[in-house]
Symmetry: D2
Subunit: 370 residues, 4 copies
């Protein structure tokens, strides 16, 4: 590895979208932040809009952040970004100026019991920047801006043949990968159902198939999404408007059911349905959730020795594995990228994502040449 | 190890309680069964009444058993028993006539994917005796009788200093042990909450403390049970009639919560409460369940990366570990044994267990000298 | 699934190669065996020669088999076979007559502590057929014959597009898969070195790359084998005649080393070299071994927290995963098949394999049309 | 938790033993260091002498430390210490001035792949203090001094009833605990052999028995040490001068062998012997090692599917678990403490430890009232 001369000219200020109150985004000038030990400054090249961004823009950041209100001043949202390393903090040699990187969200505090066991996305000090925790776009400034600070732990190199747009999808694929990891991770030849063809679900299809799962079954309501799932590797799709998904899984698997369900729909009945898609000893990962409490048949989970894994984010370095699969062209993540806007049109990008205009899946904001 | 001469005189028939219809138990004469390969004949010396027995006596065996109605003719319930090996099937040398043994319930088929990975209590062929599966007292004849057949996999040696009554509790302790195992198993110095001071919960307290968990916290409604929990090793008890258990756990742990909850109450709100007793990345084992669907806050599980493990029975050879701890006198399992009846009084024993007469916890039927 | 009529005509006797003394193979007539519970009769369609077969033919079966001498009468070797199910034992419905199947070697006893935890290739009752253990071609009759008995646990369905020859390679790929599994199994994006381009090593390259490992590095001495490794997915190959392999791995990985080494050479210095190819906390699987004791630098393993996994066979159902990857055409296992002979020419096939005539890798014996 | 007023008076300089060249220890005045973020200043109250200290004093610190020679100026050795928190770095609230703490050695960098997965004792940046790594007494200043800096990750609270001397043993017990953890950690009722009755081995006996292992077998050459092992919980001891240890383990276990061996002797034949003490699928942890390469029978490891775990230090927060067991009086760690000296007599303490004068096991240096 050669270390390029650090010859990027860093301006003192940058353009950044900031959140005032609910749905009050405005383009502001902010100082370009300075990387500290184990951090770098990333020039953002592209960022995708995530459903969680829409939540934050409407409801503010999670209330648990130290000393801040849900809508704290000058907060910049956005977490699915990629860019170019332009400046290194003290002691950093894992990256060099000029490196293209994709990011993941969570830099754990590194000092709590969870971080100490490698569960950094479950950091007990979540939101405590003073203790070292960062979750860019959630508790620390994110990527709807020209620059951002990233801990070296939260970055992965990306090869030249992966485009900026595709690289913004790595963290989404990493979340799906983490879901498969926590359920056991060794899935070649095992049946996997992915419920819900949103971005995480579609990436889940791609990752599961890349790792040799068989069959991979995708459920959803919109044919265009299911079709995309087939192109990403689904062996079977089930339109739940036309067929009961539990019965369909039984039909496809000859009555045996599958071993794993990756729940990405957040539908109220999804967990109970998943419990009937798996056989005894099956495993379910919840990567999405309904906004309200829902009735659940716990007796079924106990009687059938079913394990349910709630996951937050993209832990256990799953982003690195997802990036590796994408770099090796194991599935075509780009399929879910549907729209592109320039930095100045972030509100439009967000509207497309929120209202699913033109069946938008992943809306990307491109910083240059746009 | 010396192999005693097989000099037990086995009569051709035996006394056994059989189930006719709902709550129709009668004492019958049955042929003494013959052990096949990998099986032995056990002379039953003592058997405890389990809440599941009460379910089966009222509602019949689980409907999934091959070719049988819920109340199939001549079925003998009962699964928490111990006894003496009196006859060996062909090729058995793991046990010898005269060996005192406690039993666990599940002998997997040994040929399905779950058994193949050691998850025999999640056997896909549950109920298919023709494929080798046995669950004595559930799908094959159990222990309210003078003799029973056991697969060698379902037995554990017990030393002389463990009484018959105490040995009947090993499978209960094994279930609690399995619950701790599936959550990770390495719990020294970690906080564990056990919710519900029934037999599994109380044994869970004993096992958790024996393995060094700290603090071990027990919740319940009855002071006598909570007091028993303290004698079994609970560092703290919470009477949920007097104090909100989530707040109490926060108080006891200085706001940090615990890493593990073993849910043994089956209360409708137990899972949601457990989710708030654990910190981020916490784990919950459901060893009990409400009979109806209950509302669950799935969002909380996802946002906090919480894993929920439904368990059936006493898998992963947990009974052996429980037996070892009891043999080493790490906790006084005998405390939960409250009443004893002779074989002829099984209906009385069941009534005591069902109606919790005299605050009965474990009611034992003793075959001899009783 | 439809169950075909069992209309195969099974002759009373069959042709089978039997081992008399060292290197004394002769073609004999044997009774066709009868499948028992959980077993089927397989008509063998093709079988590959394994290096272990050569050992057994020269030195006899492992001495630990109950009641048998190393060269026991009438023993039929051979274990890398595939064929067609032609008769079912009692209670079998997992397979139907007419099913094409590949096999794995080990059917554990199902009753020892290892089998009880899913480690059936480490069965404590290895060699005790009377307790249910089978290792066809090692302790029970194998596949250099027209028919063989297989426990349902030891078979995997193969799709039509996988040829007979390719299907014989599944157990080899399964062994490589098991090696990756025991080291952790989640290898996408991680560096893997495979040392030794024999059949297991080459299949290891294919499996590792199929699962997304990066880089996959193969070491060896023969360019033809290394070239084959590249075609199976190796990103880099190292000819140890030309370059020190430890230095080469350091060069390729920018000094970081890899996380996993799958040792398939059995070379005397292989473990020590592997210990220097991995970084701290690295893992090494020994799938081969030198015939004599070799000096090992244990201090290096301890100081660097390195784990070393000896593996026997193809445990944890790895054969199913390998079959799934081959069925999905993730790597071209057929590449390592080099020669084919008919059943009558087994001694010639063995000579080709033993002497590596014409650089033979996998020599297959085809039962029909050959 | 209440936070005491930070009213400790910290002098500008302190007494500290420093290493000049081989075996050149001298008492010097050093500035008292300043805790940074996530660090505290510990006033050392007691420190035990470890065999590794003797190595460092003779041969210098490991050569891998950045920018330093093996005997770098002013280095203070010693790592088995305990003390009192007297000053907090910025942002620390996990500890308060006045807290009594024991320490573990390794604070990983928190930014390498190993730290990222919780394997901080295998930190890839070992020795790079500039990247955040600390190993007090190995690569950063240790405890033969009045004060030391500790990362919050490397400390554990100790209750009042644990004496200073006993608290110095926690890190030793933590190393033994880590060895049991990496082999699987769930050992109740399983056989464990500990080979070598040095401090780690003796603590290994205590921990294994505390967790319910049965039998726990200790091998060694000196009867006084073996006797101490029995008092710490060993069910059987084997004096290898009198009996072949492999045969003895077979005798004790009725020919079955054990599942786990914790190798603490570093004897040249220890690994091969361990391989014959375990049954198929057994596991061996190397916590000690011979100084030279030794011949190893790798074929035996492969044929029997044996896993060998080299461990460095006390990873996976094992020190916390060890501290919990000691705090709960599960075994009497104090037994191995044999001698006490004041800070001024460190060279004498080291001589006692090195020459095992008066059969010294753990020699402790006490800072006050000694």
């Amino acid at each position: 590895m050669t270390y390029a001369t650090n010859d990027y000219v860093i301006p003192p200020t940058m353009k950044a979208w900031v959140l005032g109150g609910p749905n009050e985004l405005s383009l502001a000038d902010k100082p370009v932040p300075e990387p500290r030990a184990a951090e770098v400054l990333v020039r953002i090249d592209a960022i995708a809009v995530c459903a969680t961004d829409l939540e934050i823009i409407s409801h503010g950041v999670p209330a648990s952040i130290e000393g801040e209100l849900p809508f704290h001043k000058n907060f910049t949202p956005g977490h699915e970004y990629m860019g170019t390393v332009v400046k290194l903090g003290p002691g950093v040699d894992e990256f060099a100026p000029g490196d293209r990187v994709a990011v993941e969200v969570h830099a754990g505090c590194g000092r709590c019991p969870r971080c100490r066991e490698g569960m950094y996305t479950s950091c007990v000090n979540y939101g405590f920047h003073s203790k070292g925790h960062r979750a860019n776009g959630f508790t620390t400034d994110g990527g709807f801006a020209e620059y951002a600070i990233n801990h070296v732990n939260t970055m992965v190199h990306i090869p030249d043949h992966v485009t900026d747009e595709e690289a913004t999808l790595i963290v989404t694929a990493g979340t799906a990968m983490y879901g498969l990891d926590v359920m056991g991770g060794i899935i070649a030849g095992e049946g996997v159902v992915v419920t819900g063809p949103g971005p995480i679900g579609l990436m889940g299809v791609g990752v599961a198939k890349a790792l040799g799962a068989d069959p991979v079954i995708l459920t959803g309501t919109r044919e265009r999404r299911l079709d995309m799932g087939r192109r990403l590797g689904a062996d079977h799709t089930i339109n739940v408007r036309n067929e009961d998904p539990v019965a369909a899984v039984a039909r496809i698997t000859g009555g045996k059911g599958v071993q794993y369900v990756l729940e990405c729909s957040g539908a109220p009945g999804a967990l109970d349905e998943a419990g009937r898609m798996v056989n005894r000893g099956g495993r379910i990962c919840l990567a999405a959730f309904p906004s309200e409490k829902v009735p659940v048949d716990l007796a079924h989970l106990v009687r059938n020795n079913i394990y349910v894994f709630g996951i937050r984010g993209e832990g256990k370095s799953a982003t690195h594995r997802a990036a590796a699969l994408i770099a090796q062209k194991r599935f075509d993540a780009k399929l879910i990228h549907t729209h592109t806007f320039p930095l100045g049109e972030v509100p439009t990008a967000i509207r497309y994502a929120r209202e699913r205009i033109e069946d938008a899946i992943k809306v990307v904001v491109k910083m240059r040449n746009a």
